[in-house]
Assembly symmetry: C2
Homo-oligomer: 340 residues x 2
């Protein structure tokens, strides 16, 4: 399998990207990488691995900046590392696209260059998040590929998430829930009530009803569906709250005198465990799911370990053939609807 | 000032409610309480304070349960403690309504019995939340009085929050921000773009633009405006995430052997500081704001201290005369619009 890598995207590019790719290349001998970016800047981090069978470089000096307007950037910067990497996937030269760059631009590149699975109206952005207290994960979508989602889109997020949970994460008959403002069936906004009806009517998925954001981490569902605006706010609230609590903890240890400082030292491992559990970058990045190939975005601040985990995830997605299965699912659906 | 108290609402009613009222009555000699509920059940917690000048009981054996359908309950249980308390406010026998009961029913009682300020289309539910690292608070609305908000409602939330921040919390020229999926001006859903335009065009408020949920606790704004669906999800995500992090901390201390347990003991005060900082019940309850009188809801699980803090908050609201100011604001606005 071949992964097209936008080597210039992210706060620590190209160093973190290239070092992460090297870590992955050492472990996975069945993966070939094509790195798109500035050859001179990439070279120092590759050493002996520069332009081998497994790691190829395609040089380009153009790149998309984090504050570029997404669609305009994709259209005007035709030689940007991200655009070239997306085109390689489109043309069959690579099987998947990885980037830590401008999220909006990556969404635009995915939609405009790689294209959607036939029958999918809008792809969604889907991170893999930890269930607290269990060694399990759940997927949550859409966290912001769309500023406005329709109920039909949310129904498709349920199908997409279900496939991912089953074929990539190995859950049997994954439970799908709808994020709502109450757990009872008739709760919610006009939008969430419509999405509820569509999800409930689909016998192909194991829909268990509404869930509230308070229960997100409880493991109650394997797939949690929401519209792109709410999902974006919820994911950023998780990050903001977890960060605030950890900062408060740190401040209160530093302000707490000798006893607290000593206690803090003794609890160093425990505090690290908490941080590690909440750090979902170990499950990989957020998948822009619903496209004809895996497009995966990791955090702009990703380090080499996060990059490595994201490559591991992309390899799992490719090995699972989940996208081919989705293509068949939506083709069959289209045929059925055509007959009816 | 006189506060009508739904003595039967909440998980620990009437005990926590009555004990909290007693704490408040000891401190605030200018407040009279009318307790609505089961006299026999309330009496044991009042002791000598049963039916004094300051604390009166209005007996009723009917009450609204936490799983009652809100509007139906308000209409059919005409003798319920919450309904009687709301009616007392409506009839001018009390100045404010306090409850820890069924949130939906309290919203319905507020809307249907007490009524909106003229010119307000939809009231919002507004908690007071802590700025992390500073001894300051911000208000956030709507967290769920409405399942669907219009842009015009969100504009009014900005005005309402601004008045609260200035007159109750004492902020000069409070900064108002819109929760959005990016901080740039043209970001967002159709709804949030419209709300942005209305907030930006209103010269009466100090609108500073968009903010992302990651920055909620940063103190960037004194008032954060959102629609009722997103606000509900965000508030519940804050609670779920903070709870998860604290639980993880506890589990990792218990699993961490002797050293971690000792460290945990030494850090007990620091851990309590963190919990206290995040516990926003010390700022009172969530105000159902936009009604003709203060209606304040505290958490169903509130203890006597939370009840006490909520009474303190209601007293501040009444002392500030903020609702009279809002009535004048919207009357003037109506007159202006009539002339134009």
């Amino acid at each position: 399998m071949r992964i097209a890598v936008d080597a210039m995207g992210g706060d620590h590019a190209p160093q973190a990207i290239v070092e992460g790719i090297l870590l992955a290349a050492q472990e996975y001998s069945d993966v070939e990488f094509i790195l798109y970016g500035d050859g001179e800047k990439i070279k120092p981090y590759l050493g002996d691995h520069y332009n081998t069978d497994k790691i190829k470089i395609v040089h380009t000096s153009e790149k998309i900046e984090s504050d570029d307007e997404p669609v305009r950037a994709i259209r005007s910067k035709k030689q940007a590392s991200m655009v070239l990497a997306a085109r390689a996937v489109k043309e069959g030269k690579a099987d998947a696209l990885f980037s830590a760059g401008n999220t909006g631009a990556l969404l635009a590149a995915g939609l405009l260059i790689i294209g959607r699975i036939k029958g999918i109206d809008r792809p969604g952005l889907m991170p893999v998040l930890p269930v607290i207290g269990k060694d399990e994960q759940f997927v949550f979508m859409d966290v912001g590929a769309n500023a406005d989602s329709k109920a039909e889109n949310m129904h498709q997020f349920g199908i997409l998430g279900s496939y991912y949970s089953e074929f990539v994460l190995g859950k049997k008959n994954p439970k799908v829930a709808l994020l709502n403002n109450g757990s009872e069936p008739r709760k919610g906004s006009e939008l969430s009530k419509k999405a509820y009806d569509l999800l409930a009517a689909d016998e192909g998925i194991n829909f268990i009803g509404n869930t509230e954001a308070r229960e997100l981490f409880s493991g109650l569902a394997d797939v949690i569906v929401t519209d792109g605006f709410t999902g974006n706010a919820v994911l950023k609230t998780i990050e903001g709250t977890a960060m605030s609590v950890m900062e408060l903890m740190k401040a209160s240890i530093l302000d707490g005198g000798v006893k607290a400082k000593l206690g803090g030292l003794m609890l160093k491992d425990s505090l690290r465990t908490v941080k590690d559990t909440m750090d979902y970058s170990k499950f990989g990045g957020a998948v822009l799911f619903g496209l004809r190939a895996p497009v995966v975005k990791t955090h702009g601040s990703a380090d080499k370990v996060a990059v490595y985990h994201t490559i591991k995830q992309i390899r799992q997605i490719l090995t699972s053939n989940v996208i081919d299965d989705l293509v068949v699912h939506f083709e069959t659906l289209n045929e059925k609807q055509a007959i009816e």
